[in-house]
Every structure is written in structure tokens, then in C-alpha cells.
Symmetry: C2
Subunit: 227 residues, 2 copies
């Protein structure tokens, strides 16, 4: 499904060069459930943004469903991303002036369904995440963990075939985290490819494959035997 080769992403800041991703080869198969782990600052979010077609590499190639997307137009990248990929951001990226129902409905415009259908789907996902009684509230009127769940709901709104979740349980207690992981496992059983960055051992141990990043490179990539 996803294949990156000799991937590099460098940030240039005046005299300083930060090699956030410094030579990564990675192949994600359709339907895999993968955890990406590693130290704070090791390059996980940068890698996720490239895998999720939100960023282009400094060098190297990215293939999504066989198509080379490392150098396509922004329009093409946007079409691929919005129809196929759901992204849960580490810092949520919600619109603070819209309520959570509107926030979740936002990506749905790409599927061109009736507003009533979109509204019902959005409220269903939010209710499944325990937020059914807060649909008309804005992100600023909710707790950190509630906002994290809205970000997860929005990533799932378009029924994407690939879900990338960047630390989806960082603000959640262990019970709510377990519920989120069960949801992700269910989506994986339904055929979705899932890649999640996590610092939580309980999440990582439930993934079939674990990739460890250090200083922008992969240092470990193994199948999880306990899976």
C-alpha cells in the first residue's frame, strides 16, 4: 500500500540543518496494524506527515497504491489524501470556532453525500466515542481528552482505507485508551490499514508490527510475536 525509499526530510533554519528523517526505507502492506515508537524528537511525526501525504520529502520516493506521490501536484496530493487517508494529529488541529459536529463533518465534503447523511454519520462516530451529549459544543468547551477523541472521530469521518494516528491516547486515561485501541483493532479487522505513533506500551503490544525510530532512522522493524 505504502512504500518509501531512502526517505529524507531536512529542515533548514538559517545555519542549522535538522535531519528530521535521515534515510528511511519502509513498506506498509494493506491491512497491517503497525506501531511506530521512539524517543521524543526522533522523527515520528515528520515521517507520519510524509506517509499521510501532508508533506513532501527533501529526497527519496513515496509510493501510495503504486503511484509515485513524491513529486505530484498539490491538487493530486490533496485528492489522494482526502479520499483515502484519515490523520489524527498529535496536536488535534481542530477549528475552535466550530462545534465538534461541524469539525467532524468538515472532511466529509469530499464524499459529496447529503448533509443529513453526513450529520448522522458524524454524530454516530462521536457518540461511539462518548461525546454524543456534547455535539454542539466547541473544542474550547471540552477537556483535553475529549478533544483528542474529536480528532480521532474526524480522522474516521470519511471512512478512509488508511488511518494514521499520531499519539492518539496521549491525553486519555487507561480505560478510555483501551476503548480507543479496541476501536482501532475493529477497524483493522474490517480491512483498514492502521499506523499509529505511540508512547504507550499497552497500545504498541496490541499491534502486529512495531517500527522503532531513532535520530530519523529505523533501528528496529519486527513482527510482534505476542500479537
Amino acid at each position: 500500500l505504502l512504500k518509501v525509499s531512502e526517505l529524507k526530510r531536512t529542515y533548514i533554519m538559517g545555519e542549522v540543518e535538522v535531519h528530521a528523517v535521515n534515510g528511511i526505507d519502509l513498506e506498509i502492506k494493506k491491512g497491517e496494524l503497525t506501531a511506530i515508537v521512539g524517543q521524543s524528537g526522533s522523527g515520528k511525526s515528520t515521517l507520519m506527515h510524509i506517509l499521510g501525504c501532508l508533506d513532501t520529502p527533501t529526497s527519496g520516493t513515496v509510493h501510495f497504491n503504486g503511484e509515485d506521490i513524491s513529486s505530484v501536484s498539490d491538487e493530486r496530493l490533496s485528492v489522494v489524501r482526502n479520499s483515502e487517508i484519515g490523520f489524527v494529529f498529535q496536536s488535534f488541529n481542530l477549528l475552535s470556532h466550530r462545534n465538534i459536529l461541524e469539525n467532524v463533518m468538515l472532511p466529509m465534503v469530499y464524499k459529496q453525500e447529503e448533509p443529513e447523511i453526513r450529520k448522522r454519520k458524524a454524530s454516530n462516530i462521536l457518540s461511539a466515542l462518548g461525546l454524543g451529549d456534547r455535539l454542539l459544543h466547541k473544542p474550547t468547551e471540552l477537556s483535553g481528552g475529549q478533544n483528542q477523541r474529536v480528532a480521532i472521530a474526524r480522522a474516521l469521518a470519511n471512512n478512509p482505507s488508511l488511518v494514521l494516528a499520531d499519539e492518539p491516547t496521549g491525553n486519555l486515561d487507561s480505560n478510555t485508551s483501551k476503548e480507543i485501541m479496541s476501536l482501532f483493532q475493529e477497524l483493522n479487522r474490517l480491512g483498514k490499514t492502521m499506523i499509529m505513533v505511540t508512547h504507550d506500551q499497552n497500545i504498541a503490544k496490541n499491534c502486529e508490527r512495531i517500527v522503532e525510530i531513532m535520530d530519523g532512522k529505523i533501528i528496529k522493524d519486527f513482527i510482534n510475536k505476542d500479537f
Copy 2:
């Protein structure tokens, strides 16, 4: 040090009333190391904001160092807060247009030290947190966990006697989390009173007292025997 009685904080949103804090009695002794735990949405951050003099209750009283601060002027609240309290926010609240050194120096104006001294202190704290080579970078140029560490550094900048940390390791890998907890334990040994909201069992088990919140009320409050 801190004493709250029959504390309530209600958010009124049109027809809906959210009882975020719904009757809490709590006494924090000087020098205690306390963890606050509980489900997402249970009222932890709301309670922390009141304890940290960032918010006033709907009803009930708050005493800090013997002074009733539930109904003092905003000016008085601001003086108490800036001289005595360091707060690590769940969503960091950093200034994105300033670099991290400036962000950490910001609260230091209240101590009225020489700019050179403030600069050196700020760079020392940031270096201790592994960010010594990124001092001139802005929050948008750093990872989630790096930003979390800047938020921690800023809370400590004024050498406060009370440190309130709202989920200080949510974006950190286990190694970096351990370093943060060691730092907090060291600050506690030096006499600081520490209160941290955490979902991380490894953090909670290292605290001498654990308070559990559910639906805006305290359901458990015990001394940690393994401490």
C-alpha cells in the same frame, strides 16, 4: 498550603449546565507530592486551574497559604500566581511567534532580575530538559514532546514553591517521562509542593499521595504505600 472546601465549578451553556467540579474538599500540605487521576472529562484540569489561581469557583472557598483567594481581585490573584505558582498546561499554551528561550523567560519578569541572569537561568532549565541546542527555535519548529518540555521549563522558570503539572508526560516516550519524573522528585526533595494530573501509572506510583476524581467529585484519596 492549599485548602478547598465544597468547591464547585459549573459551566453554563445555554440550557445545559456542566458540573465540571461538583463538591470537592481537599487539603494539600506543604511539600507533598500528589497525583490526581481519573477518567477523561472527570474535572481534573478544571480543579487544577482553581488550585493554580487561574480560575475562580462558582461556589465554595479556596485558601492559599491561609489567604482566602476565592474572592480576591484579579490583580491580587495574578500576583500570588506569578510569584508562587508554576503551571504546566495540558495544551502547553506557548507563544508560537517567540522562540523557546523567550517563552521560558516570559514569567521571569515578575522577579525583576537582570535580563542576563534571566537568560542564563532559562537556558539552564531548557538544557537540563535536553533542549539546549534549540534555544532560538520557535514552538512550531519543534516536536510535540519537545514543546511539552518547554512548557515544563516555563513553569519552573520562576522557582515557584507550588508546581501544578497537567499531564506533563502525555507526549513523551517512557525514557524521557522517567527523566521528567526524576526532575519532579528532585524538586519535591528541595521542598516544592507538587501536584500532577497524570494518566501514566508509572508517574502516579512514584507520588506519595493519590487522589482519584470522577464526575467532578473525589472518590478516592489515599497515601501511596509503595512510595
